[in-house]
């Protein structure tokens, strides 16, 4: 097990390095940030001055080495588009909002998908099963921003129950973006739960429990559901990372001041240090959660040996 964990950590570090190089290169392909961030009538002298201050006049490998060096020491640098504000400060300000939104979306996903997944498995091929499939299909096929805008118009504009956007109305603020973000994953989790439940429902010990006269509710929720959870549980771990990193569009639509919204601004402004920092952070989240799920999975499932 220790060897497995060691190898997975090494793989994770290598993956981060590769991602950092890709992001670094792609960000620079998109164009010159000086052309965006300085006023149109900035003089060539000012342009050169800024380019020099930001290190853009250095060879590309020097820029990369400096970026990696700073990153290792925890110095993400300054945000160009925010007048030199430290990026760690920007991230520290925005990250809690993203975590809260992703966490709520995760709860939404789980609380909708798991019960429906169980119910459609129990009532296989019934009208309930088909209805569940439709719900899943809509969640999977409709883009989250489209779902978000529809929710916004219905619940904020027409009904007036919830705020359209922002994060200053307490719990009410998070409902629409959380549902819009979480609904996308309902389909996958629901179908995984369904197939896992069908497999468990067909096992001998379940048949035995029913023959012995155990109440159906107990059979399903105590004996089947817990055993069927391992596959959706693994996936739910992964979508935690997806939700953290995938809130970019939803945060923009709902003016939710999180990392995703910051990422969009940074991309628009070609603010390389911010783009790089956020993408690396997202990648680190993703890799860490994958790692944690792998380790937990190996620990929980005794049939897995490395």
């Amino acid at each position: 097990m220790q060897r497995f964990i060691f190898l997975r950590v090494i793989q994770s570090v290598l993956a981060l390095l590769v991602i950092s190089a890709v992001v670094f290169a792609l960000a620079r392909v998109t164009g010159d940030p000086v052309a965006i961030l300085l006023p149109e009538d900035a003089s060539p002298a000012v342009v050169e001055q800024v380019r020099s201050k930001w290190g853009l006049d250095q060879p590309i490998y020097v820029q990369y080495a400096r970026y990696i060096g700073n990153f290792v020491t925890g110095d993400f640098g300054e945000a160009w588009a925010y007048g030199g504000v430290p990026i760690t400060e920007l991230i520290a300000r925005r990250l809690p909002n993203t975590i809260v939104l992703a966490g709520f979306a995760w709860i939404i996903s789980a609380s909708i998908a798991l019960p429906i997944g169980v119910m459609v498995a129990v009532k296989k091929d019934s009208a309930f099963d088909w209805a569940g499939k439709v719900v899943a299909l809509i969640g999977q096929s409709a883009p989250s921003f489209a779902i978000g805008l529809i929710l916004m118009w219905v619940f904020a504009v027409i009904l007036g129950w919830l705020p359209t956007s922002g994060n200053d109305a307490g719990f009410k603020s998070i409902i629409l973006p959380g549902v819009a973000l979480g609904y996308y994953n309902v389909a996958a989790v629901m179908r995984l739960t369904r197939s896992s439940m069908l497999e468990v429902l067909d096992t001998e010990y379940v048949k035995l429990a029913r023959i012995k006269g155990m109440p159906e509710r107990k059979v399903i929720w105590k004996h089947c559901f817990r055993n069927a959870l391992i596959v959706p549980f693994t996936y739910m771990g992964l979508i935690g990372a997806v939700l953290l990193t995938g809130s970019v569009v939803i945060e923009t639509v709902f003016v939710w001041p999180g990392l995703g919204d910051l990422a969009i601004d940074a991309i628009r402004n070609r603010d390389f240090p911010v783009i790089q920092s956020i993408v690396i952070l997202f990648a680190a989240f993703y890799i860490f959660i994958n790692l944690a799920v792998d380790v937990a999975y190996a620990y929980l499932n005794p049939r897995i040996r490395y």
Binding site: S43, G84, A146, L149, W153, V157, W161, T164, P257
Partner: protein, 672 residues
């Protein structure tokens, strides 16, 4: 040929058109519709390229369309919950008004007192010499009533697109990003948004020496900052100038301030001891100063006005006692609004600063800007009653008006849009084989464009068409004899033949179009223009997408054989000349047109202190560029905002890029 515009993206051509003058596809580059309206695949290269490039956009548009259908269906179920009419009778009456469009509000009633203003620099707007009336008048209007009584609401909430860069120290982000700070900070001068003339703000009166180098200012006395015991004085101006021209400042006019008042050499940083004093500024008293400038300059009332966004006044005392970090976290100014809170990327809150501000006391107690990137989010905020004023794109304005909201328009244009003709460089970058350097080709381009059709299809006829890029009729150097180039494809073909291009084998050019804030239609208008160019014989390589690659190329002076879409704010001709139409040697910035003759005129204009001579020089430059067809002028666009007539009785949008951010101290609340 008769072209019928069914909608912005659905343009059909009558069957009886003369195909002799048409390309295989319709002359707008869009789908050609037959009798049945059946879609026919575009056959032109440009149209096919556009179709390919715009697939993603079309997908998004389709989704938005579906959304609109869904929303429309949902709305049929009930009225907006938050849009119940206000309790007052007038407000209730307004709610019933269909498609109300508010008038460009009258000039704010509380104006600064008259001064001993001396210099009205040549080249600045002057209505007396302003020339022709706008080609297109602002939309019809219905003026709402402001009744006496209690305000229906204490808070004014404005939904805007976020600035490109956010920092509450404006000089660190520069340009239009400083718009969100203008409720809080003031400048020496302000613009009159009816006449575009310079008016006093913190400078009470001023005079200039005959050589244009010595300026004397009497500053307004006892103007307090939002910082206890701190009033505006000469040292605050000097400190502010040091920030505008600081080595790390991103201000667009930082170089200008450094050149006229700064020390020799490169822009610099200052030590704490150096702040607040400068050898070029003599402090006669705390409220009187004399500038001994490094070079003559008559346009100080323009450069030192809030219209240019940069010259906002900072408090030296607050900086010294609190430090930069505290200043950035809780900034102060002398404006009628003071900072309350700020959440980056989300909102910025102000409150009324004084009971008796020297200039104006706002009608509302608080002012909050909400930063919403998505157009539909801002529309939703307005309709849900979470915003009282919102930036609404032109294509969604109809829906807002139909729902009982008003659209208010700036008093003067906010944007100027045109097509740059690249490659017109001085000898060092000029390519003799570049077709763009041939005036006949440029004339052919101009006559290939159907501006009326563009205006109708994309701008709802709200664009004031322009005859000569950079010159608005309110500019004294504007010539009313200038004519908007007529749409005449036959003439275009003839001109190309005269230029040496045989029929049907015209020049090969690139056409770049990119989206810019305020005029998102720029990429869309490119499509028919490309088709019109191809229709008269040009071979066009279209590149439609982001603006950033365009900027990178023109900054590098690599625009040979390229046409590109461009927009700027509403500026005097002299400023437009400097930024767009001169070479790097004259501190140009875009290098769209470089010609030894205009370079000479502009050089003389810059150094002249004779107002009449300056006016004539600018007229000559304008006339020459008009004759040379230096660009493909399109027109001027007004800033437009949606507003809730139940809350906002009057909002005077100024002409700047950031109309939604400025002037809210003059915004009037509905009273009941």
């Amino acid at each position: 040929m008769i072209i019928r515009y069914a909608s912005k993206r659905n343009i059909s051509v009558d069957n009886d058109m003369d195909f002799q003058y048409l390309p295989p596809y319709d002359s707008n580059g869009f789908d050609r519709l037959g009798d049945t309206g059946r879609r026919i695949k575009p056959t032109s290269q440009a149209a096919q390229r556009w179709e390919s490039m715009s697939r993603g956009l079309a997908l998004r548009t389709g989704i938005v369309g579906l959304l609109a259908l869904a929303v429309t269906a949902a709305m049929a179920c009930g009225a907006p919950a938050e849009q119940e009419p206000a309790t007052s009778a007038p407000a209730a009456a307004q709610q019933q008004l269909p498609a109300a469009t508010q008038a460009p509000a009258a000039q704010a009633p509380e104006q600064p007192t008259a001064t001993t203003a001396l210099a009205q620099p040549a080249g600045m707007s002057d209505r007396a010499a302003g020339g022709a009336a706008p080609t297109v008048a602002p939309a019809a209007t219905a003026v709402p009533e402001t009744t006496a009584g209690e305000p229906v609401q204490a808070d004014l909430r404005v939904a805007i697109t976020p600035p490109y860069a956010e920092n509450l120290l404006g000089w660190r982000v520069g340009g239009t990003n400083q718009g969100i700070l203008q409720p809080m900070q003031e400048a020496l001068f302000q613009r009159d948004y009816q006449t575009w003339e310079a008016k006093p703000m913190l400078a009470e009166s001023w005079s200039v020496s005959p050589d244009g180098k010595e300026w004397t200012f009497k500053l307004r006395e006892n103007v307090p900052f939002h910082h206890e015991g701190d009033t505006f004085g000469v040292s605050d101006f000097v400190f502010s100038f040091q920030l505008w021209s600081h080595a790390e400042a991103k201000t667009g006019f930082g170089d200008f301030w450094h050149q006229i008042l700064g020390p020799e050499g490169e822009r610099q940083t200052w030590t704490a001891d150096e702040l607040g004093t400068a050898p070029t500024v003599t402090e006669v008293s705390d409220s009187e100063m004399v500038w001994n400038m490094n070079r003559p300059e008559l346009w100080i009332p323009f450069y030192a006005s809030e219209a240019t966004t940069d010259p906002l006044i900072y408090s030296l005392d607050y900086w010294q006692t609190s430090g930069e970090e505290a200043y950035a976290a809780s900034p102060v100014g002398t404006g009628p609004w003071q900072h309350v809170s700020y959440e980056q990327g989300a909102k910025l809150e102000y409150e009324r600063a004084f009971d008796d501000h020297w200039r104006v006391n706002p009608d509302f107690e608080t002012l909050t800007f909400f930063f919403a990137e998505e157009d539909l989010t801002r529309v939703a905020m307005l309709r849900a009653g979470e915003a009282d004023i919102a930036e609404i794109p032109r294509e969604l304005q109809g829906e807002i008006v139909n729902a009982g909201y008003a659209i208010t328009q700036s008093t003067l244009p906010a944007f100027m849009v045109w097509i740059g003709i690249g490659g017109q460089y001085l000898e060092d970058r000029r390519d003799a084989n570049d077709p763009n350097t041939n005036v006949l080709v440029r004339r052919a381009m101009n006559h290939a464009m159907d501006r009326d059709a563009l205006n109708e299809a994309f701008f709802d006829n709200k664009m004031e068409l322009m005859a000569n890029t950079g010159w608005h009729p309110t500019d004294p150097s504007f010539d009313p004899a200038w004519e908007i180039p007529a749409y005449d494809p036959d003439l275009s073909r003839q001109l190309l033949q005269e230029a040496g291009y045989a029929d049907g084998s015209g020049p090969s050019i690139e056409f770049m179009a990119g989206k810019l804030v305020g005029v998102p239609e720029l990429t869309e208008v490119a499509v028919p223009m490309i088709s019109w160019l191809e229709a008269v014989g040009f071979t066009v390589d279209a590149q439609i997408g982001e603006f950033q690659p365009i900027r990178t190329r023109y900054k590098a002076r690599e625009m040979n054989s390229v046409l590109w879409t461009h927009r700027t704010g509403f500026w005097p001709a002299g400023r437009n000349m400097r930024v767009y139409f001169v070479s790097p040697s004259l501190a140009g910035a875009v290098y769209m047109y470089e010609d030894p003759y205009t370079e000479d005129l502009f050089g003389k204009w810059q150094n002249s202190v004779d107002e009449e001579e300056r006016l004539n020089l600018m007229k000559d430059a304008g006339q020459y560029m008009y004759e040379q067809n230096a660009t493909i002028p399109l027109g001027f666009l007004f800033a437009e905002f949606g507003m809730n007539p139940n809350v906002v009785a009057e909002y005077s949008v100024n002409n700047s890029y950031f109309g939604g951010m400025k002037g809210h101290e003059y915004t009037k609340v509905v009273r009941q």
